[in-house]
């Protein structure tokens, strides 16, 4: 057989059939169900009186709309309560396993899938959420879908798809101290643009990958969609296997050995051809901050707000002007002179234990600047409990942060965690879109250590100026 990429191997293993027009029916092993994209899918199923094909292929959790405090109380009357109740009722009716808001395995779908071992190498996994690309960190084909496709997976366990083109992002070099994996993905998107990878399944490869933890790989794959790619993947290796072994839904015993033997055959063959290749020297990166209203509008922290007048393309120039107007920024202002009001540490991008550790390392022994409010929202209850066992909650609280319960929170602002109009936030989330963190709110994306540094000084800050260059907070 011809040399194949990781993506092509997993694709081929899930091909149910190929239609005459060249499109494919792809089998879907796993589906994560949440409250926002599922009510209409369940309603569609019920309207046609269709049954769920395989209840055991789905796990459900409410993460977007849930509050991150006062969780011991019933949800107050209102839309969020109606949405969570609807999910619970649908799961009961269709016999889907549902993780409740007070369960100690609750969390954001993209954090708990891997924690449970629901996410596995070589699997196909979908969710009605664009950040499903996160799970590709394990060598799965994982992608976000709309509610109609969720309905299709409920009914058929398959999706009619066309195989994507492939793109390899080869990472070379070693991150400098104070630079994090978030800076890799932000730096990549700044370079190739928010539609730079549309139509492609991205594989992150190269010598820079082997040393990255699973948490770091998940951050990387998570933001593939911000470059336009539905799929981002990393080949499974010993780091992957060590993370998964013993997880509740990971294979065990003889199945584990068989699975690992198979997973070792998945990495891209030498000589396999990608439709597109991009190289990124991660050793050259500085910490990144976004300045505009999409993740591609990002630059190194030691720079300044760019001048639209210098942009030749009129469409891009108009977009930059609009971004700066929305963000309340003038060209030429040094990033480090931009004052912030709020700090958000969390999300499916940066709400994992390593993220909280790196932020806590910056915050430890310091105080949030006067007038700045900060919240830390662990990505899952497991992350929260682990952090509490390590004393991270005490570090954050002592510095003046609020320590919350798990959920999407201020990344999508569907609960009460949101910016007021005009407020400026240093955020570890994934999207700086207009209104994303609340109507009129202004988001600057960055790594957890950078957000922690901004909290301490009250303005956008190079974390290396706070902790020195010894790498304590990388």
């Amino acid at each position: 057989m011809a040399a194949r990429t990781l993506y092509e191997k997993v694709w081929d293993e899930h091909l149910v059939k190929t239609y005459d027009d060249g499109s494919s029916l792809l089998y879907i092993d796993r589906h994560l169900v949440q409250e926002v994209s599922s009510p209409q899918a369940f309603a569609g199923l019920d309207a046609e009186d269709r049954k769920l094909r395989r209840p055991a292929a789905h796990v459900a959790v409410a993460d977007h709309a849930v509050p991150t405090r006062m969780r011991h109380l019933p949800l107050p009357e209102g839309l969020a309560r109606a949405q969570v109740s609807r999910l619970e009722a649908n799961c009961e009716k269709h016999r889907i396993n549902y993780i409740g808001m007070r369960d100690d395995r609750h969390g954001i779908v993209h954090v708990i899938g891997p924690e449970l071992g629901f996410t596995l190498p070589g699997a196909t996994l979908v969710c009605g959420d664009s950040h499903t690309s996160t799970h590709g960190a394990f060598g799965a084909i994982a992608f976000g879908i709309g509610a109609s496709e969720c309905e299709c997976v409920f009914a058929t366990q398959a999706l009619r798809q066309r195989r994507q083109k492939t793109m390899r992002v080869a990472l070379s070099g070693t991150l400098r101290p104070g630079v994090a994996v978030k800076d890799i993905i932000l730096g990549l998107i700044a370079r190739i643009g928010t539609n730079g990878a549309v139509g492609h399944a991205v594989e992150y490869a190269g010598p820079g990958i082997a040393t990255l933890s699973m948490e770091a790989r998940m951050t990387l794959c998570n933001m593939s969609i911000e470059a336009g790619a539905r799929v981002g993947m990393v080949a499974p290796d010993d780091v992957t296997f060590a993370y998964l072994k013993g997880r509740p839904l990971a294979p065990a015993g003889a199945d584990w050995d068989r699975a690992v033997a198979h997973w070792k055959t998945l990495p891209t063959d030498g000589g396999a051809v990608f439709d597109r290749e991009v190289e990124l020297d991660i050793g050259a990166l500085s910490p990144q901050v976004s300045w505009g209203t999409n993740p591609g509008e990002t630059a190194a922290i030691d720079g300044q707000v760019p001048d639209p007048a210098l942009e030749a393309d009129p469409v891009k120039r108009a977009k930059m002007e609009r971004s700066l107007r929305y963000m309340g920024l003038a060209p030429g202002v040094a990033f480090k002179d931009i004052a912030i009001d709020r700090v958000f540490i969390g999300s499916c991008t940066n709400g994992r234990i390593e993220d909280l550790r790196s932020a806590a390392a910056v915050v430890a022994g310091r105080q949030i600047a006067a007038g700045v409010e900060g919240i830390v929202v662990p990505g899952s209850a497991t992350v929260r409990l682990t952090a509490e066992a390590e004393g991270l909650d005490r570090i954050f609280r002592a510095a003046g942060f609020e320590w919350r319960e798990s959920g999407c929170s201020m990344c999508v602002a569907m609960n009460d965690d949101r910016l007021s109009p005009g407020q400026r936030c240093a955020s570890t989330s994934n999207r700086n879109f207009e209104g994303r963190q609340g109507q009129g709110g202004r988001t600057h994306l960055m790594s957890p250590a950078m957000a922690a540094a901004a909290a301490v000084t009250g303005r956008l800050t190079d974390v290396r100026d706070i902790v020195g260059n010894n790498g304590a907070a990388a």
């Binding site: 149910v16 029916l25 292929a57 969020a80 007070r102 539609n195 911000e226 839904l249 999409n294």
Partner: protein
């Protein structure tokens, strides 16, 4: 699904790149449980000022009232997978979006809801945008795969043949997979159970992990 064959309408111009699905359908409205009636929230922050008064956004202008076509710029519908963005467009009456490029999940979602996204780029796109601004009527013919501009010129566009057929027929994709492919899916599952048993969780492992007795609930 509603069929799409041919439409003639004025086209609302939206000459701005990177219109993401948060702009098309702000997240706070995602708490609503139904597909229907979402049009009133479409482009909410662009159509209304904080005090509730209407802006001069294209879809608020009398010249584009009743527009069934939107002419947008690059990377339209990027970001979130929320299908509410398409439901809101469709509910508002938009049946066709023309842009140089689209967010991929948004693009896929359009076809599930009788909305036709058409990729037109370069000088052609400038021409279509100018035609939209002129306030004249465009005709989109999916059968013929053509766009006709108000002043006469007509040109073709490309679309995946399956998707074209699905829109023309108003195809129920789930129904056709169930009718035509169920045996293939069953055969696939039987083979996977032998070759990669760890990928299937039907052995009750999930139920044991999430018992109904609240063991893990504080």
């Amino acid at each position: 699904m509603e069929k799409f064959t041919r439409i003639t309408s004025v086209a609302a111009p939206l000459p701005e790149a990177d219109i993401d699905t948060d702009i098309i359908f702000p997240a706070r409205f995602l708490l609503l449980l139904d597909k229907a009636g979402l049009g009133k929230h479409l482009f909410f922050e662009r159509r209304y000022r904080p005090d509730g008064t209407r802006t001069d956004f294209a879809l608020n202008q009398p010249a584009f009232e009743g527009a069934k076509i939107l002419v947008a710029d690059a990377n339209f519908g990027s970001g979130s997978s929320r299908e509410q963005a398409v439901w809101a467009l469709a509910d508002f009456g938009i049946k066709c979006v023309i842009a140089p490029s689209f967010g991929e999940i948004f693009y896929n979602n359009c076809f599930k809801n009788g909305v036709l996204p058409i990729v037109v780029s370069g000088a052609r796109h400038d021409e279509v945008m100018a035609a939209a601004r002129s306030g004249g009527e465009l005709t989109i013919d999916l059968e013929a795969e053509t766009i006709r501009l108000p002043n006469g010129p007509e040109f073709g566009f490309e679309i995946d043949p399956y998707r074209r057929r699905a829109l023309l027929l108003g195809l129920d994709e789930i129904g056709s997979i169930l009718a035509d492919d169920a045996d293939d899916i069953a055969r696939f599952e039987a083979r996977q159970r032998v070759e990669s048993p760890w990928l299937q969780l039907d052995d009750g492992r999930l139920d044991r992990l999430f018992p109904q007795d609240e063991e893990h609930t504080r």
